[in-house]
Every structure is written in C-alpha cells, then in structure tokens.
Subunit: 446 residues, 4 copies
C-alpha cells in the first residue's frame, strides 16, 4: 500500500500518500524521504510536535474540511497549523466561533493588561523622594500612607459633592435682598441668582476649596511634565472649578460696582458645579476601566440598539399620535412628545405623565411595551456578555503580569547564579518588591 | 480469542467479533477478511479514517447505546457515522443536544451567509459605468464616493424625519383662517387640518422633497429592471410619499375650488407621514438583518410568549375586575380596561393611570406583577439566546465567504501556475479586489 | 518491577500492582492471573471496554481522587464505573456538577418524553371510526380534518372570550329598568346586576353557546370512559359554564316570580365568566407543557423567591412606614399599604399611586428598588435556565421517541426478514405511518 | 538522534533531549539515566502518572508556552504540574480562566460545605435527652417531631407578623381618649400614640407573646452555653421584643402616674415592631445561606454597581436639574430631589411623581433611562452568575459530605472486618444513621 507512517512525539499515524498530495502547498503535501525527519529504520517520519491536532489535519487531507478538536487551546492549534503550513482560513465555519473565542479572549486580556501595565516594573527601593511623593498622591496601592491619603481625599470629594447638592435647596439659602424672600414663585434659575448660601455649609465649602487648591498646587508643583498635567480631563476640571470658586470668594470681600455684582452672582450660583468633582470617585475602583472597555467593545451592539430603538420609537410614536388623534386630551399633542412617551414605555419606566386614552392608543401601548422589552433585551445581552468577558478575564491579565514579573526575576536570578558559577538553583521568589505602576516619572523628568 | 484488530490511521483497536455482529446492517457488522482493508501480515483491518469516534462506535456495539465524545465536531462525527453505516438516530438522547447544537449553528451560518452572499463575486475592475453608479448609490462599502453619498443621504433622511416631527407641533403651525387661532380647544385632527406649516421649516422640507425626488428618479432611471424596483417596500413608500407631497405643493400654487381645497388640506396634513422615511435608517446597519433573522428563528418562542401572555392577561384582568367590583371608582370599569392594566403591570411599565384600590385588588396586583416578570423572562431568554446565536456566528459566516473567495482565487492561481508549467507556488493572496455585493445588475440588464 | 499491563480494547496501560491494592473491593483491586481476561503470551489483561475513563480510574488508585475527563458522556462514565466496581460517590466534588448535568438532562428528557408519549405507538390504519372521530376532535396533528376543526374551535373560543370581555362595558349594556339609566354612579357590581346585554353581541353569544353545547355533548357521547371525562378540569369548566348559560337563557323565556328574577340577574351577570374559556387556548401550543414542567422543576427557586421577597418586602415596608411616620400625607397610612408600595417598587412596576415624600422615605425607596432588582434577578435566572433546559431538550426527547419508533419498525422488519430467510437487509424506513398520540382509547373502551 | 523515550502509564512519548534542557529547574529538565525510572531494556523512562497533560507539558518545553487541554480537570492538571515541578504561573493567560474556574468552583463548594458541616458526624442513637430536646427545637431535619414543631413555630411567626401589620391600621384601633376620635387629621405617629389595639387581635397577640416567651425560656434553659445564646442576633431580637411587650402588658394592669403613662403609650406603639420576627422565616430555607454567600462573593461587583450608579446618578441629576432650571414647576426644585428622580428612572421604576417638563429634560430622561438599563444590567449579570455558581454547586457540596460520611463508615467497617480477621468484604452501607447537624452540644456542656 502507499501508506506513510508519521510519528509525532511518539504517537504513530498512518495515512495514504495519495491523500496527502491534495494540498501540495502544505508541508505534508511536499513530504519526501530526503528530509532529515525521515527515519529509514522504522520507515517513518518523526516530528517533534504536538500530536493533538494531527487527526483534524489528516481529516482535512481526506475530506477537504478542517474541523478542530474542542479540547485543544486555539493557540496550540494555531502553532501547529503554522508549522504544517495550513492556512487558518481553511478552518470550517462550524469550528470558527470556538477557534476565535480564545483568540478574542486573548485580545481582551491584551487590552486589560495594557491598561494595567503601561510602564516597566519598578523596584520600590530605587525611587527618589519626589517620585515617592508623586506616587503617594496618585497610586493608592503604593504604600500605607498613600492609602490613608486616598481615603482622606475621597472623604473631601464626597463632602464637596454633598455640599454642592445642598447648595440647590432653597430652604437652606438666604435671599440677597430682603424683598426677594418669596423665591418659590419664580423659576429655579431666579432662585439660584437671587439667593446665596451662608453659615456652616458655606464655611465647610470654603474649607474644601482650600483643601483642593492646596492639593492641586502640590500636584502641579511635583508633576514632572506640565503639559501632560493638562492632558487629563480631571485636572482641567479641578483647575476651572477652583478658579471659579476663588474669583467668587474674592469678589465677596472687595467693594464692587453693579456690573461685577451680576457676574459675582452668576459665579456663586456656579458653586453647585462642584458636583462634577464626583468624577474623582471613578479613581477608587479599578473596575471602572472595565466599564469603559466594555462600552468600546460593544460599539456595534450599541449602534444596533440606537438604530433599532430610533426606528421603533419614531414609528410607535407616529402610530400612537395618530391613534390618539381624535381625542381632545392634549397628552399626545405632537410627535416629539409621543416619542418621549414611547421611550418611557419601551424602557418600562412608565411615568404615567402621558397615557393613551383611546382603544387604539391602548393597542399601540401594549405592542410598544412588549416589543420594547424584546428590542432592548437583545443588545443588552450582548453588552452584558462583553462586560463579563472583561470581568472574568481580569485574573488572566493579572496572571500574565505575574508571569512577566516572574520571568524578570527569574532572568536576574539565572544571571546571578550563572555568574557565581553555581549553576541553576531554586531560589525563593520575591515578587512583592517589584510592581507595575500606571505612571512613574523618571527622575530626569522631575 | 475471537478478537478483531482494527487499525484506524495508525491507532489500533481490539474488539470481540461476536460483539460486532449485533448490528449486522453496519459496515463493521459485515467485516470479512476478503476486503482489501484486511492486512494478513499484521492480522488487522486498516481504515484511513479519523479514529476519534471509534471508541464511541465500539461502545454502541458493546452496550447498544451511542454516546458521543464531546471534543469532536459534530460534522466529523456525522462523516464517520456515515462511513461506518450507522444511523444518526441511534445517537443517545443525552448527547443529542450537543450533537445538534453544531448542526444548528451551521444552519444559522447558512442563513446569514445566504443573506450576505446572494450573488457571485465580482471583480471591481470589470464593472461598467452604469453598474458603478448603481452600486455607488446602493452599497456604502463599494467605494469612498459611495460612503460620502450614503452619509449625505442619511443626513437628509434624518432631517426630513425631524421636520415631519416638528410638523405636528401646534406652536409652529399657523391657522389657515384667522378665526381658527384657538386650535388647542379642538382635537389634534382638527388642529392638523385647520392649520399649516410655513417659514423656514417648510422651505427646508421642500428642499428635502426636491432631493428625494431627484434621487428617486435617478435610481429609477439606472435601475436595470423596473419591475424589480417596485418589489422593494421602501421604493414604493418613497414613490407614494413623493407623489403626495408634490400634489400638495402643486395645489398650493394653482387657484382651486373649495372641494379640492379640502383634499389639499388633507394632503398637507399628511406631510408628517414623512416620518416613515425613518425606515431608510435600517440600511445603515448590517446587523438589522440579524434582528429579522432572530425574529424568524424565534417564532415558536414568540408564539409561546403570546399565547401564555394572552391567557395570563385575560385571567388576571378578570380577577382584577372582580376584585375591584365593589369599589365605586371607575378605574376597573370593564374587563378590556383591566386587560390594559394587566399588560402595563406584567411588563412592569406601571403608568399608574389605573391602580387597584381594594385589598383584593392589591393581592391580584402583587401576583400579577411577579408572574409577569416570570412569564416574560422565560421566552425573552430564548429570543436573546437566538439573537446571540446569529450575532456570534456573523464572523463564522464571513469566514466562510472569505474561504470561498480564497478558493476562487486559489483555483484561478492554480490554473495559471499549471498553465505556465511552473507547478504549485505560494503566490501572495489579494482578496481586496474581489467582493460579494448584495446585488449586481449584469450589463445586459442595464 | 511490579507493573501490570492492561489492554483495554487495544489501548495499553501500565500501572504498579501495589497501587491497585489500595481499593481492594474494586475489580482492579482483585486482579489475578487466574481470570480468563489474562493473556499469558502478551503478559497482559485484555478487557473489551471503553478505555477513555481508564486514566481517571488509574488516578483514583494513585491519588485517591476520582476526577473525570470532560469529553466523555456521563453515561459512558457510569457504565465504566459500574464495570470496574467503583462507587459513584468517589467522584471528586469538582467534577460532580459536570457529571450530574448530563444525568439531569436525561431526567428532563424523561419527563418531556413521558408527557409526549403516554401510550404505545398506533398504526393509523387500524383505528375504528369512533376512535378516528375522537382523535380528530382532540389531536390537531391527527389529520387535515382535525386541523381545520381545531382552527374553527379556536376561533369560537376567541369569539366567546372577546364577547365576555365586551359584556362588562357599561356603554354596551341596557338598564333592566328605565330608572336605572344612571349606572355610572353606583359600583360595578350594581351596574352588572341592574343592566343586561342585548342586540347582536348577545345573539352571537347564544350562537357560541349552541356551538359549545353541541361540541360538549358530542365529545361526551364518544368519550369511552365517562368518569375520565370529568377528571379533566377544562371539561368540568365547560359543563359548568354551559349549565349557567342555559339556565339563564331558559329563565329569560318563562314567566318568573321575583325571587327567581334575582337569581336570573346573577346568572346573566355571570355570562362574563365565559372569559375563562381562554384556558382552551393552552391546547394550541405544545410548549405550554414546558411552562408547567419548568414551574414544577423550579419549586425550590420559587420557594427562595417567595421567602426572600416576603422577608424583604415586610422589612422594607416597615422601614418605609416609619420613615414616613411624621408626614401628614395618608400615603403610607399603615404597614399593609406600605407592603403594596414595596412590591410595586421592588418589581420596578412603580405605579406612583403611593410615593415617599420625606428624605428618609426617599432613601428607603432607593435601597428598596435597587435590592428589588437584585433579589428578583437571582431566582429568575435559575427559573429561566430551568425553562431553557426543558426547551432545548425538546428535540432530544423527540429524538428518543423517533429512536423507539425506529426500533419497533426495525424489530418488525428483522422478524420479517428472518422469517423469509433472506437475512438482514436494508429496507426503507417508514416512520410516518406510526405515531404516538397522547391518548388513544381502545376499541373495547368505546 | 538525541530523542528521549518517556513511558507514562503505558503511553509512549518521544521528545528531543535538547528541548527538555530549556527548563533546567523542572523534573524533566534534570532527567538522567541514573534514576530508578530509567528502564535500560526498553531505553525508556517509566513514570506511573496520568499521561493526559504530558503533551501540553512537552509543548511548554518546545514553545515556552503552557496551554492546557480542556478535557482534563484542573486538579489533575495541578497534581501533574506539581509532580513535574512546573510552576502554575507558567500557564498561558488564555487557559488561565478555564484553569481557575474549577479551582473557584472548589472554593465555592468549600464555603457551602463548611456552612453545612461545622461539626463531626453524630450517631443519632448516642444523644442524651437534653441534646435530643435541643436538636428537636433547632433542626427541622432531626426527626418527625422537630418537623411538626417547626411548622407550628412558623405558623406563630406568620401570625405575629400579620398581627403586627394590622396594628398599624387606624380603622382597627381605638382612640385612648374620646376627644381624639378624628385621628386621620394628624400624622401617623400621632395616630399610633393616641390610639390602642383592643379586642380579638390584641388577645391573639397576647397568646403569641405567651408562646414566644415560653419558647424563649425553654431554649434558654436547655442551651448549654448561655454566652453563645446571646451571640445570635435573632435571640437578642426575641429577648428585646418580649421584654418590651411584657413591660407594656404589665403597665396595663397597674395604676400608673402620668409620666409612666407616656412610656406605656410608646411601648404599646412599639407592638408593631413584632413585624421584625419575620427574620425567623429565614430559618425555613437552606437556600437563604446561598443568598448571603452570593452577596459576600459579589462584593466587588456591588462596589462597581454602587460607584458607577452614584457617579451616573449625581451627574444625571445635575443635568436634569439644569435642564429644568427655567421651568416654574417645583418638580426639580433641587439636586437631591433630582437624584431621587434619577434613581427612580434608572431602575425603571418610574413613579411619575416627578417628571421632566421641558425638551431638555426629556432628552436627559431618555439618556438616563437607557443608560440606567445598561449600567444595572452589567453588575446584575455578574451577581446572578455568582448566585448560580453557589446554587448549582449545592449538590456537589452535598456529594462531598456524603463522600466523607461514606469514608467514615468504610473506615469503621474495614476496622471491624480486619479485627475479625475476615479480610475486606462488601458490607451494606447505612448512611441514614449518621448525619451532620450544624450544632450539637456535647453532654458535658449541657
């Protein structure tokens, strides 16, 4: 018979030679006895490869279809396919999803790792004082001190946000002029401009302002690159808010003409913008980055959600508008307001400020709410599973960083042990000393 | 002993002969030494097959049950079962779900691929000018120009839809007669018929009308088959809307008798139907097709959802009606309105326009909302997973198209290389030049 | 060395003998050369078994832990463990979930199959006329005629339900006495008792009544067992409703004393109970049974949902009650009404009939709605996955029925072919003729 | 060639020696012919190990990457890696998730088992009377009597909770003084303090009080450790409630001065705190513990949910506040109330007590409701899957307890059979007699 014996790492396969010739561009298609892999004694070819994918590869030669084994990691498959010079695109479509799932997981891990690991490992003992100070202020995981600092900082952020919220409560404010005591009658804007905050809350706010100003100046002073400092949105927000507050406070204590007074009023009304400092809260959780990754990875699902919802909302709003066209009630008085009702119905929020009142409207409402649940469930499922992909691969990304760190230490150890001429030894691993910060300024920068 | 040695691609199996005779219709049941597969030297039968399914097949002979290995693709299993002449229906029910999952995924990929791939590959360099124009207008992925055209088109669609929505806002409309200035008192229909749109918005609408008319005429002119043109719903919608608008505009500028005036009024009121052009938005996303596939594939789940919900809704509505039968409030004044309340409760929309007011009604409300969540969660889970099946198999469908495209190029290359007598060579692949449009009119058609 | 060679269907294993003695009660623990499985030539034991589980079994002897391979069906594992006399309970807990998943799936399939397959296969050609009539009326899948009958029946059911709903609309009813024309002022019960339905709708209802009476009588006549007839809830419902309707109709046409008149009024008011005929809709979908199975299988999850929700609802209601204790508003006037609010909030229905109005109430509301989503999401996930288990195993259950049917035909064929002395042949399979009805009365019964 | 033959339990592998030297610290990297595993006859190394992971390990030597087979339990992998002295951290990140999933499942099972299994197995026949009484009162699974006791206890708990709810209904209460008959006008607190419960409900409550007092005293008497008794929250709750009730009842029957009267009134108003006895309901379901485990395991997801929601809520509330700043309506009168609206919208509760009324507000509402669904869906998915992990591994934990119990019995049996000199025998297993209670006091303690 024309069979060929192939020994892959001790596992022996037999296949007809004629079959192998069907893909002449591949390695097995060009098999010849002149190769060093040929062992004339045993009349077999010996390859030092993983034999797990061989049966699938032989099936490709036999049937022209490449179905993959499900118990082998896609990267092993890839390595073997590359070795045997078989194009990835020959993989059957039924196995494609399984094959790419692992590759995608890898890509996800890459993204996570990159975000966790933008800089080389640092040896904690080699940092300068300035670097230490910078890292204490920026990285809670740097030391005990930085953890305490972070907690204090978060307390101030929480306080300033709560105060900003309280600023908008009319009962806590005092009218600028006595004749404006009945603020409730006007609009909210009126109230904000014609009254001001006084007493303990105001003084607490000033204390927070001082704290954030000092923090901002310190950070700016020790920041190695001033340009880079302004490339972060949060820093710009801090600077803007601090300037507004200080201007308002300064205007408080100098005699002013009428014109500036208005500006002053506006500035003081903007005190409640302090609420935006809530964004600093995002620093507290590593997982916040996952949310952003998920949203990026789910852009196509988002697009789908938006396009589908827009279409459905507009159509249902038109239907509801015309269904209610004969009723006197001014609930569905125009299509935009019907769009508002449709969104409120499809998301199952259902305020009830607008309700259908005719039978035709009821029917539209029923269809609208049911199809809303359906339409939203589909992309949400994808986004939730994307999030899960990031969330469940966090440990894998950490594992890779650990592996890299280990390798670095290992390399150093090997170097040491070879230098000392003692040969490889099993030394205890110390990974605590090494870690990867998100940003370490070099001493030159500082 | 009566054992038989079977060598499947180098893997050796031993089994009692008496066991094999239990299924005499199968290949192994008819095993005889006269076959060419018999190798007398080694006293074994050699088969050039995938040995992965053999252990399961031998188990079938031994125990009468066919349990499949979980790490082998169902299509490989199918191929082997066919070769050994074993009926698919002998597969044990516990492995049936796993076995059919892959087959179903294949069917899903088939459906997606068919929709993406209705026509043969085209070589972009061989198209005529008319074909180029047609494809520029229809396929955003055709060229840079077609992408720009698509963006402009979508902008106009968005604009015309927004204008149509604004048409229904009474504040933006002017009464046709001065005595109708108090429109708010009548119904919406009254308002629509007794007032008209004027000014900038109206002129913008006319601009859009001109744009869509020109676009429609151009498309109709270059369309190869006029009949086919009208087989698309969107084209018919465009034609109808354009005709209505133009009739209304023409009637604006010619002196008319009273009768036509009413028709004119009605026509102008229909300007807000332009909102239906939103359907063009569906062209923007390839994923829209997935939604339609999902809905088709989920028909049984839909049926279940509808039947279950209908039953539950009617029963709960009757219960709520009789629970509230003694209250004076006219909230649950009849069963149909109670049905409306039940749907609003089961979908957790909860407008609050109708609320139970007696203890019996509260109990019905509690049971109704809880069972609503349950009843809806079950079919929704199926529909969401159906959608996921389509969504996650998109890349697999694209992979198959790529494979086919590759094969076409490969075949052409092989032809070339054999013709030139140079033997098979590894030439660089260029897949960019080839692609599959959804519809390419032949030049004869044009 | 003290190694033992074991040949399992051609796959050779080597293991130390001392290791095998650790579990002396098992088959391998009692291995002796006196057994017929011992082959002295090759110095090995030959077993005609599936070798896939052997490595795991050897690991049990080596390490004392039994971890299972993931690519082998649990039933194959079970068969092998039984053969080697290893107790199922030795399986490690980390593999237990995987091991039992398949066993559970089998149990699910058993339940589905039992419900689909309560009776032996029938050969359609052997039924009597009476059996044919019975099956035509009961099983839509019996023949074309039965499908038409089923459609007509469903139309009548829908009609009678819609009419029953319309019965409760006051505008369609006429007052029994002229002085009761202002029905809106009283309660719904008053309205129902003091007015009646007349005109077309009433006549349509009578037509439906006649139809259902005839249908009921026919079914009762041809029903083989009269007792069994009344063991079905739907039949009892039909009988009761029909009797009520007919009594009311008869009382309409005979002169009656005042006392009976009241009974008559009540009876006529009960016409809207016809809405309960909606339960017949459940017959239309095979999948309805799945819902019932799911609910049965999810009893523990239900219990959890109920207990958790009850506890959470009572606690939150108490909190909300005391949070609002100082407000004058009578919204949270007692704990039971606060319980209603809590359920409405936790299920995210949110009618808005009761709303917290103090800051403490807002805080309770926020915590309540968030924890409601969490608490409900957890058991719902289990119930949805239980439903999925039934839904996705439907085809497997059908596969088993098909296999059984195939086996029956096969047995018959084998009998025939052996009788004719022709030996086993591959005859075409005809499964259409055979099918399993849910209930076939024997001719003796009829 | 420099190949090495390695025989792992009968499976033969061949690999180049030079490749093995890449990891000199591992077992295979130090392979030498002096080892007892070397068999010079066959020129191979024999290892009595599981060969399933060998191919992956060889791949590590060849490519430097360690990809795991998917069909082998992670614990088998771990055992093999340990034997071959390969560090776990070398596992590739793409296989890390799969590898750790099983380890995590094991950890989950550990947690469940620990909670189910805090004490050694007890032999039911060896308990003293006091122990029997204690266990009858505490463990429903102890005996038939304890089940009946448990049912009665739960009935009393339900009754006392229902009565506590009824206590807050003004209609059922009587005013303390006749002049307070118009209670509805004041606040709820007023109503509670100025009225009291009388009649049947009050007497039923007293009966419950007697029951719970007797139960508490009995439990306290037979409790072995009095300190431990007060370490359970529920016991403390019972003691406090019972003391409050009895003080109030005693004050009822002794003549009192005005001052005590007020305390008495307050105490009687606290009768409705009996509602907290609902916590005893948690004892009824074993699955309640799962909820607590899930919440503990989901702390990071919770943190994410809280931080994200807080940020989103504050930002959206600020947006909504400023969107509605120009409207006169006092719906969005300050940011805290806007925060309430945002939470109600994002959780899709949608009471409708506060609604946006301007176009800007509508836009904020639309974005807010859609992003609310998204934001909540993501962590909820994780928490639901955590719950599923606990729920689906319950049987595995029970399996482990069963295994331990079996081993105990087996050990005892082996001891017996060896003692009797009869050698190992297959005796019938009796597991019923042994079981693990959550707490068994020793007789010394009692």
């Amino acid at each position: 018979m024309d069979t060929v014996n192939i020994n892959v790492s001790g596992k022996k396969f037999t296949i007809r030679k004629s079959v192998l010739l069907r893909f002449p561009q591949t390695k097995l298609g060009r098999l010849t006895e002149k190769w060093p892999e040929y062992n004339p004694e045993e009349n077999e070819y010996f390859f030092d490869r993983n034999p797990k994918v061989m049966l699938s590869i032989f099936d490709l030669y036999r049937t022209g279809e490449l179905h993959l084994p499900k118990n082998v990691c896609s990267f092993t498959v890839k390595t073997e396919l590359d070795f045997w010079q078989i194009d990835e695109s020959l993989i059957s479509e039924c196995c494609w999803k399984m094959y790419t799932t692992t590759l995608k997981a890898k890509a996800v891990i890459d993204v996570i790792e990159k975000s966790l690991n933008e800089h080389p490992f640092v040896n904690r003992e080699e940092l300068s004082t300035r670097q230490h100070l910078w890292m204490t202020m920026e990285f809670p995981q740097h030391s005990i001190v930085s953890k305490i600092w972070f907690t204090i900082y978060m307390l101030f952020v929480s306080m300033v946000v709560i105060i900003a919220c309280l600023y908008t409560i009319p009962q806590l404010r005092e009218p600028l002029r006595k004749e404006d005591s009945h603020l409730a009658s006007g609009s909210i804007l009126d109230m904000l401009l014609k009254s001001e905050m006084k007493g303990t809350i105001y003084r607490l706010d000033l204390a927070c302002l001082v704290f954030f100003t000092v923090e901002l100046l310190t950070k700016f002073t020790i920041c190695p690159e001033k340009k880079r400092f302004f490339s972060f949105g949060l820093n710009n927000l801090d600077v803007t808010l601090t300037l507004i507050m200080w201007t308002a406070v300064v205007l408080d204590h100098i005699p002013i003409v009428e014109h500036v007074h208005i500006a002053h009023t506006v500035l003081r009304a903007m005190f409640c913008l302090n609420v935006l400092r809530i964004f600093h809260l995002g620093k507290s959780s590593n997982v916040m980055k996952l949310l952003i990754f998920t949203l990026k990875a789910s852009l196509s699902a988002f697009g789908l959600l938006l396009v589908t919802l827009t279409m459905a909302v507009v159509i249902y709003a038109t239907l509801a508008y015309f269904a209610e066209v004969a009723t006197k009630a001014d609930t569905f008085s125009n299509i935009p307001i019907a769009i508002w009702w449709t969104v409120v119905t499809m998301t199952t929020v259902g305020y009830g400020d607008i309700c259908p009142q005719s039978w035709a409207g009821y029917v539209v409402g029923v269809i609208c709410s049911l199809s809303g649940i359906l339409l939203i469930a589909m992309p949400i499922a994808i986004i939730a599973s994307n999030f899960d992909a990031f969330y469940s691969n966090m440990p894998a990304a950490e594992q890779r960083i650990r592996r890299k760190c280990l390798k670095e230490i290992e390399d150093e150890r090997l170097k040491l042990s070879y230098n000392s001429g003692a040969g490889p030894q099993t030394l205890p691993l110390k990974t605590d000393q090494y870690y990867q910060p998100t940003y370490v300024p070099t001493d030159d920068e500082l």
